[in-house]
Each structure stands twice: as C-alpha cells, then as structure tokens.
Symmetry: C2
Amino acid sequence: MPFRFTIERTAGAARAGVFTTPHGAVETPSFMPVGTLASVKAIDPDDLHAMRVQMILANAYHLHLRPGDELVRQLGGLHRFMGWDGPILTDSGGFQVFSLADLRRVDENGVEFKSHLDGSTRFFTPELVMRIERNLGADVIMQFDHVIPGQSDDVAARDASERSIRWLERCRAEFVRLDETGDATAAPYGEQALFPVVQGGIHEVLRREAASRTAAAGDFAGYGIGGLSVGEPKPETYRILEVMDESLPRERPRYLMGVGFPEDLIEGVRRGVDLFDCVAPTRMGRTGAAFTSLGRVNVKRAELRADGAPLDPNCGCPLCSRFSRAYLRHLVTSDEILGLRLLSLHNVHFLVALMRDARAAIRDERFARWSREWLERYYSGAASPSSPATTP
Amino acid sequence: MPFRFTIERTAGAARAGVFTTPHGAVETPSFMPVGTLASVKAIDPDDLHAMRVQMILANAYHLHLRPGDELVRQLGGLHRFMGWDGPILTDSGGFQVFSLADLRRVDENGVEFKSHLDGSTRFFTPELVMRIERNLGADVIMQFDHVIPGQSDDVAARDASERSIRWLERCRAEFVRLDETGDATAAPYGEQALFPVVQGGIHEVLRREAASRTAAAGDFAGYGIGGLSVGEPKPETYRILEVMDESLPRERPRYLMGVGFPEDLIEGVRRGVDLFDCVAPTRMGRTGAAFTSLGRVNVKRAELRADGAPLDPNCGCPLCSRFSRAYLRHLVTSDEILGLRLLSLHNVHFLVALMRDARAAIRDERFARWSREWLERYYSGAASPSSPATTP
C-alpha cells in the first residue's frame, strides 16, 4: 500500500505521525508550501530540499489553464516538469473557481465559469477535475468540491456540503475508472490517493454529518478540511476544528486547507490537524512582511535601516544566517528580486521549522507547554511598540 | 603589494592572466556580473560562488543614493553588507550621471544633476566620488570621468577626454589623502586600487593621447576603457580597442567597461582586454532572452511550448542541468520569479564560462581557432530559421 499513515505519539488531540506516499515520507504535522503554477514562488526545488520541505502543493485550476494539464502529462507529470521529486498534492480548483473566476453558474453537473486569464468559458465537472489531476500526477489529489463564502447561512452551507458529498462519489468513480483503464491517456506515473474535502461552513451539525457521510463513503488515505479561515472569527474556526477532530477517522491524516499563519498552525495541531498549506509565506515575502519568533515584522520599517542584526536571531534560514536587517530592508525598499526571494525563503523556512519543532515537542511529551510558550513569545513581540524584533 | 597582475600566456593580443586583489585572485579574461544596488539581480552570493564567479561590480552612483555609502561603511563595507567575500569593483557613477540623471550641468569642478529617484539636486566632484567609493570599500575603484555620447564629434570628445584626465589627477590626490589620513571617516577595511578611465570616443588620436597621458600620470594597477559600445558601429569599437591595446601598458589588466554580449567579449579578448562587465545577462534574463551556444533565444517563443530538451545542450548551469525549455517557457510566460532567476543564472553562467573557456584556449595555444569556431557556431544558430536551439 503506497499510502500509509503511522501515528507515533499524541499529545491531547495533537499527533506526531508519518504519512508515506509514493514519492517519500512526510513527517507530520507538516506545512506544505504552495507552488500554484508548478513553482513555489521565487523558490527553487533545491532550496526546498535544503530547508527540508517534504511535500508541496500545486493548483489544478491554474495548471489546467496554463500551461495545460495535458502538456504537463506529456512532459512526464508535475514531478518531472517542475524538478521536484518529493510528494506533491494538487487541490481541485474548487476554491479558485469560486474565488478567482468570474460569472460562475453552479448546477448539479458542475460549475461554469470564465477563466481569470482570458475570460474564456470553462465548465468543471468532478469527472473533468479528476482527469486534470490525473494528468498532473500528484501523489495526493483533492476531490472537486462546492466552496461557499465563510459565513454562509445554514441553507447555503447545507446545499454546498451535500453537493460536495455527491461530487465525491462522482470523483471516486472517475478516479477508479481512470485507474482501471490505464490507457494511453492516463498518466504514465505512479499511484495516487484521492482525498475528500469535508465542508459544512461553521455549522456544527453540517460538519458532523459531512464527516460521517464522507467516512462512510469509503476508506480514504486522508481527509481535507475545507471552508475554514475564509473570514469567520477565530473562535469559530477552532470550535469547528474540534468537531472535525471528533468526527473524522483518527487513523488518517487531516489536511486543513489554505491555513496559514504560525498561530493558526499551532492551534490546528492542537486540534488534531496534520497537514497545512498556504500562500501566505511567499505572498508576504513578496510584499516585505516576515514571520519571526518575536512576531510579524514589516521589513520596510525605517527602524531597520542601519540594523546590523539578523531578521530573526532564532532562525537558521538562508536569510538570517547570512544577512542583516539593514541589507534586507535595502533590497526590499529597492525592489530587488533577491529581497523577495530571501524573504520568501525565510517565511517558508519559518513555517516548516515551526511544524518540525511542534513534532519534536509532541514526541518529547512537552507539546502543551511548548505551544503555550511559543504563542506567548510570538504575540508579545508583535504587540511591543519597541519590538525586540526590530531593536536588537 | 596587494594588487598584482601576472600574464601566464598570450595568443596574439589575447592574454591569460591572474589579477590578484585583497579579496582573492581573478583569472583573466573574466566577466564581472553587475550588482548595481549591492545585489546581482535575482542572484545570491552563494549562486555566484557556485558558478565560479570571481569578481563582481557595484555602482557608486546608485549606492550613494540608496541606501547611502555612509550607511554601507557603517555596516562594514560592501563585502560584508552584501555577503560577498570575493573581489568587488565599483564604477564611479560617471556613466550613470550622464545617462540616468536629469538636468546635468558640467563645469571644471564637477557635475550637478538631479537624482533619478527623487529629483533632488546633487553635485558630484572627483573628490566626493573618491569618498563615496572609499566608503563602499570595493577592491578596485574607478576614477570619476566625463562621459559623452558614443558618436560625439572631435571637439566634444577632446573636451571630455581632457577633463577626465584632469579629474584623474584630482581623484588620485583625494585617494592618497584618504589613504594617509585613515581617520574615523575612512573605511575600516583593506587596501583599494584606483583605475583610471581612458576616454576619447572613436577618435584614434584622442585615444592615443589619453592613453599615454594616463600612463604617464602614474603606475596604476589597471586601466578602464570607457566610452565604447555606446552606439558606435562594431568596426569602430574594434579599431579603437586595437589602438588601446597598443597604447596602454601591457603589464596591467585592461577593463572594457559595460561590455557585454558573448561576441563582444570574444572580440575584446582578441584585442587584449582582460575584464568585462555588463548588466545584459541579468537584464535579458528578466525579459525572457537567453544566450546559448547556438545563438540568442527568446524563451517565450511558441516553439518551445512542449520542448523537453534543456535550453542549451552544451550548458551545465543550474537551469540547463535540471529543467526543460517547456518548463522555462511556462515560468517566463507566467511571470514566475523562478523563471527570471533561472534565466539570469543561465546568462551569467554563460558569460563566466565563456571567459573560462577563452582562458583555457589561450593557455592551450588554440585560441585563434577556438574563438573562430565559437563565433561561427553562435552566429549560425541565431541565423537559422529552424534553429537547433529550439528544435532539439
């Protein structure tokens, strides 16, 4: 069985595990950097290896539009195309169709939308998305789901959640069919695992129902938790994560989609989440914002102008181990590409190392204290007017 | 003596040498990538080392405006500021003042101009430029010179050339004074060498005169050749380079400023040039253009869409050794930062490796044939309608 999940140790709901895929093992909890267009923005696959990134994400919607999933298949699949030999997960485009594309029309068959690139009309069905993700050839592929705004009412949330469950069935049927036909149009590479996406908004009843119906639909290698961190208040997120922890199979990895920020990762791990992804570290890196162990820092701040200290004294990334805040600020304020690259490296390294530390804390039976102290330090730094992150 | 130049072998006017500086040796002929604002655009110092780049360039004008040469001095000088421990050369800002800045007014004392960043009025004198370059702390610093358009008439060229020679005297006096005072305002780091810049446009008489007067003005560790490749026809460039080869001291390195392209480098080496710099490889990298051994390639071309071959089959750079033309084209057409980074790496690697090959050919006594064959291959590839660089 090419997909396996082994839980080594728990701390309350938190788990230290190993998720095995055809392209290697992922030690969980783990953060997956996002390579939307088959490139983690500004970062090289060699950098990812050097930072000990284990699994990355790519976007079916974006790659379908550009350069085209058929082309990627033709060139040997995503791993070969982008020069990354580790595990990859592709999302299904559900989120992008509902957030980026214009003029969408949803019916039971699928979603009609206009491409955000050229306005051309497209129609995504669960079956088409499976074929796209098969062509891309990631290790883990997500089902096509119906995504709705974060604070949708019960009726809209139920409608979308139930449609997502029906679409899961169609995804699975197509996934099995593609696997069995294995003809010339199928991807020439290894086995894939289909993850369902559990929806239900912030409605506890819907979430429990979606979780149990999804789990009843088959034995999946892992589960996606969708529709969170989309604008709802944090306490709602945490409450729903606790519901998910109770209602999803414990022996499978849970992937909290599109999250996120350091504090969200720790709160997620506390509530039984194993995998995370988010564009935040690279997007922030391109705008001059940095995660540090003492809080978030705007690198353009005038106080950093002559500051010879590293950005984060507790960080061993390629930025902090070699360059000063002053140099980083100079690069960022001068729009030098090296600046956004170093900052993207730092932010990705920060989240990856954070999850590595969380894992070590779970294994060493000190997770509760570690996570409490970590968050205290993080918030104290951000709150301070003369932050230790900017005046060494 | 911290600056030394040893010629190991010659082939006609071409020389294979070693230029020793306080931060290490430079094997010549050599191409110096340009780090305008203390960063070779999109490239990390570690990348430079990996590509065996030996010496880089930075710009006094740009760094004076941003982040300020005083700040760089305060932070330990350019080497430490930008994390590059190899040799550095700074140009004097002469070229920038006359090409980028607005509303300049030249008199015998110096040049008044408006900053291209904020329009503020600035006044550069030879003395101020020496203090700027002293603060930056590069190994080699260029004199402040009067730069004029490429095809200026004899009167304008003579005026600028003679002024540059007078300014050389003032640069040297200030350079010596700064060295002797060595007070708190002086740079805290090692010895520097001042290179004159020989001007004279495309006027043979002026060039000979400038060269002999410059050489008579003192024993410099090397000589800059300015005012070429600024719009004049190639045969004029080559003719003037031959004049420079005859009239400059043979036992010192010659640095042809702002050049450039592969063919120009080879033609320069043939005429006794040892050092080159140009923004072309990184600038082209950011616009999707590549040097290859078979000619220049526009990476956005539709023919590359499904091309699984490396950009240049004869190249061992971080791009060509790992990625396909199809992936590179996808990155570049999608405005992915990784695309322009990989292309910048490739183009810099290409010129650096080209000069390494030229050096090996001189040492092995096969330079004439090597350079002829290299140029034939380069031009044939570019000329071909179904170029081997695009159809593997």
